[in-house]
């Protein structure tokens, strides 16, 4: 029997219309923003982020406070950009937060912006989230009217401007330097790093790019204390995480849990497998993560355990596969995704993804060659580590893991000589 957990960010969703600023404020909204401005210095907000152990919830899992500390301490102009370009296959948490509780997202961004001492914050919203964009626009107008955005906030003399930027369809813009290019009105192509955005980001100024969920957690951290957040989870994976569970489960959805609950428990929370079915594989961290299998389902769901199992926690998108799954089709679907979303700058990613997709399409159609299976492994392996960003490296994990585990499924798609 799965335990239920008290939601933190998802609290109140479905009970009240949190898009209404009055409702949000009645429930304690914007109190932490006010407290941050009135009672805390930027350095104290940064200390809280550090002490909470909060790590980036967008995929990389980098400690948030440390990311902020990479900014030069000279007080030069800097920017905070919230990354809401959610498009990792299987991930749908930012979409929910944006549409259901936009003021929490906004409050988190504004607190983060104050924490790094910037005076202009941005949110980059995926082009497909047209409704979310409209909801956020209203939220920003209401917050501005209430005095939470603009000049001389809370009478402290601190100015903070806010801009919503809407993308136009490109997964790669979730990569932080591609996002910055897109925000600058350019093609969404990742930049060569270094320099990292903390040194040279938006408009060549030091910039922090943080995920929606990461920034939203700043609000409860300020409210309940860094110790409260750090006291939840495991030693190195602290706090809560919204896990988007989808695929072959009875109740797909967002489940907010303390890091370190078991993979099995998450599957149970999502209603368990369908009637009479057995889960044979789970992709624990979005389309870029390797599959894990039955022997891993007792592992705690945290950054370290998932890495140790040969995968990653990533964005917290858990796709569940039962024993009816056609893994050749599943692999084809993801490889096609990365091939489609490659920006084309780096040859290994552009060409490798394209040819892997075609090879897999041939296998799906049942016209594969025996050598195709080795080609899948060698090409995906060789294209890894040779690209400007992580997109080209994202094909190998899932593909290699399912080819290894379910090789007979791939072999069954090979056309034998003489067969009709």
């Amino acid at each position: 029997m799965a335990m239920r957990y008290e939601p933190v960010l998802l609290k109140g969703i479905g009970e009240a219309d949190l898009r209404d600023i009055r409702v949000y404020r009645e429930r304690g909204g914007y109190k932490q923003l006010e407290r941050a401005f009135r009672e805390l210095s930027s350095a104290q907000v940064l200390d809280l982020a550090n002490a909470s152990g909060l790590r980036g919830r967008g995929g990389a899992g980098f400690p948030t406070g440390r990311k902020w500390q990479f900014l030069p301490a000279n007080g030069a102009p800097r920017y905070m950009v919230c990354n809401c370009d959610e498009a990792e296959p299987g991930t749908f948490k930012d979409h929910t937060l944006l549409e259901e509780t936009p003021h929490l997202v906004l409050e988190g961004i504004l607190i983060g912006a104050y924490g790094i001492g910037c005076h202009h914050a941005f949110i980059y919203i995926r082009g497909e989230f047209k409704r979310g964009y409209e909801i956020m626009r209203r939220a920003v107008d209401d917050a501005r009217a209430a005095g939470f955005i603009g000049k001389n906030l809370f009478g402290t003399g601190y100015d903070l401007e806010f801009t919503i930027h809407r993308g136009a369809g490109a997964y790669i813009c979730g990569e932080e330097t591609a996002l910055l290019n897109s925000l600058e009105g350019k093609r969404g192509e990742p930049r060569l790093k270094p320099p990292f955005p903390a040194v040279e980001g938006l408009y060549k100024a030091p910039t922090v790019v943080n995920n929606v969920e990461t920034l939203a957690y700043l609000v409860p951290i300020l409210e309940r204390g860094a110790e409260w957040f750090a006291g939840v989870g495991t030693e190195r994976s602290k706090g809560f995480k919204i896990v988007s569970v989808s695929g072959h489960v009875r109740k797909p959805g967002n489940y907010e849990v303390p890091l370190g609950v078991s993979v099995n428990e998450l599957i149970e929370l999502a209603g368990g497998p369908r009637e009479g079915r057995k889960v044979v594989a789970v992709q624990p961290g979005g389309g870029s993560s390797a599959a894990i299998f039955e022997e891993h389902f007792d592992l705690p769901y945290d950054y370290e355990s998932m890495t140790k199992a040969g995968s990653m926690l990533g964005s917290g998108a858990m796709v569940v596969f039962d024993d009816t799954t056609d893994f050749v089709k599943a692999a084809h679907s993801l490889v096609r995704f990365f091939a489609h979303e490659s920006c084309g700058q780096c040859t290994p990613c552009r060409e490798g993804g394209h040819w892997l997709e075609r090879t897999l399409a041939r296998l799906v159609a049942g016209y594969g060659l025996q050598s195709d299976i080795d080609v899948l492994e060698s090409v995906s392996h060789q294209m890894t580590g040779l690209n400007l960003c992580a997109l080209g490296d994202s094909i190998e994990p899932f593909l290699a893991s399912v080819v290894k585990r379910f090789r007979p499924q791939f072999e069954a798609r090979v056309r034998r000589n003489g067969a009709s």
Partner: protein, 254 residues
Amino acid sequence: MSDFAALREELQPECEALIAQYPDKRSALLPIVHLFQARQGYVTRDAMWACAEMLELTPAVVESTVSFYTLFFRRPVGKYMLQVCRNLSCLLNGAETVMAAFRDKLGIGHLQTTADGLFSYEEVECLAACDRAPCMQVNLEFVYDLTPAAIDDMLAAMRGGTYPVAPLPQTAKPARTWAVAADGEVALGDKSPGAENASDPNNAGGIGDRSGVIMLDRILAEQSRFTGRTRERLPNEPPAAMREIAQEEAGHAH
């Protein structure tokens, strides 16, 4: 004053407000293109030139940027842009049935528009609504938990003008239509394969993409060039199904 000049004059204040939001005016490119597309249905050459002028960029830079993004349509599209998710979680929950239903009912395939200009159809990547798979967007509004029956109702409502999502403006005749137009003109046939055999269960996962099969066909045709270099012996005779496909392809060629 031309129609476009009037539109530009009308949108000028909004464009200026967008530019003012950013420390650098080039940042306003995507929002301004969105603005024009929302009025014209697609990104026209006029709109790109206007952006170039307003933001002090070359038209080539504007077009290069616009062409990077899939939600900027560079050709006229149908009044209803149907974008069905083909990614993993939807696939595990019946997206193939949904895609086959759309292809059958509309008679068109991926990236094509019906001859009456009403529907454009596209199979897109993850829309971040995997908890309500299979899902799609109609003119960027989400539709969840799709079933073939729901698709029937949806298309009927769109044809009858009662669908709750507003149609896109259409300021030019759509390109890339598949069927022969009513006036007898043979429309531009997009040869992306699949529309013609959407319901074939052997068709690469119902994805309408036979490129792998076609590729193998080409390999077989050029077999002699690779003799001794391929790692295994290829079948001498293409299987019957492949011959049919090859004939079909030949039939479509100009």
